[in-house]
């Protein structure tokens, strides 16, 4: 799980162009939206693309999206639960 979290942090920094951040700057338990990293609606959509592109997982609805994208850890948990094989 910890390896996946580290990988996710790197991927998030890359796809969201968080150029001035390092993986250590991201707290995997902190909220991604509103507080914490303070990501916005386009960032949320990019993370949805990330999950599909890198992990083959499609989010069904905005509600599902809100739960899964709550924090880096919740993303990692979602990936672990749903990854096939």
């Amino acid at each position: 799980m910890e390896q996946l979290i580290a990988k996710l942090k790197n991927e998030i920094i890359e796809v969201l162009n968080l150029s001035e951040m390092a993986p250590n700057d991201i707290d995997e338990n902190a909220p991604l939206f509103v507080e914490g990293l303070g990501l916005d609606s386009i960032d949320a959509l990019e993370l949805i693309v990330l999950l599909e592109k890198n992990y083959g997982l499609k989010l069904g609805t905005a509600e599902e999206g809100k739960k899964v994208l709550r924090s880096v850890r919740s993303m990692a948990e979602f990936i672990t639960e749903n990854k096939k094989g």
Binding site: L18, E20, V49
Partner: protein, 215 residues
């Protein structure tokens, strides 16, 4: 009664890997650098602090930087009501640079991942949006496409906005980028001078003179 003409308060040029404001060359970069790297250098050199910069496409970075340097120490928010500053921009390529990126992401149907953060920049007027967000500007704005910089057309239109009191000041100019070619020329035009020295009249001849400046 003193005759009153609107003025060009200041201007900023970002071209040929140089940053020029008014009479001064503020920064010169290494010409072998691709534009994106040069823009990042400008951002860092001037000690800017605006992380959203890194999310912008190249066209928006160019426009954002030109506005940032042009408006530094101008206190626009003090001089004008939030809706009194207009932004009228022109270019030739619209958002073609980013359009190509978006097209690339959908060309291969087996790897079909259109990106919302790329798509949002496939509109030239997003540059205006980024500048308005940064400087809290709520005024009249439009993005026009022209084959090349047209000082007469810009002058006629912006002066009309000033005459009709639709704006009291206007950020206007040419923000163009397509691959490695780019050119940023931004003017701050005011209906009533807020400075007393070195007044440059807002007129096509002066716009062209500034636009033609290359070091």
């Amino acid at each position: 009664m003193m005759e009153h003409t609107s003025i060009i308060h200041d201007y900023c040029l970002i071209r040929d890997h140089q940053v020029i404001r008014g009479d001064q060359v503020l920064y010169t970069g290494d010409k072998s650098m691709p534009p994106a790297s040069f823009f990042t250098e400008i951002y860092r050199h001037f000690g800017m602090n605006y992380p959203k910069f890194y999310k912008m496409d190249n066209l928006c970075k160019l426009g954002f930087l030109a506005a940032e340097i042009l408006l530094k120490d101008k206190n626009l928010q003090q001089s004008y009501a939030p809706y009194a500053t207009g932004i009228i921009l022109y270019n030739a390529s619209s958002s073609l640079d980013t359009d190509r990126n978006h097209q690339n992401s959908i060309t291969d149907r087996t790897a079909y991942y259109p990106s919302p953060s790329v798509f949002v920049y496939t509109l030239a007027n997003i540059v205006i949006g980024e500048i308005c967000i940064r400087h809290k500007l709520y005024g009249e704005s439009t993005f026009f496409i022209e084959r090349e910089f047209d000082a007469e057309r810009l002058y006629t239109y912006v002066q009309q906005l000033l005459d009709d009191n639709l704006v009291e000041s206007c950020i206007t100019g040419w923000i163009e980028l397509d691959g490695d070619r780019y050119d940023g020329v931004l003017y701050l035009v005011e209906k009533s001078p807020s400075v007393t020295n070195g007044i440059v009249n807002f007129e096509p001849g002066k716009l062209t003179e500034i636009y033609s400046r290359r070091s």
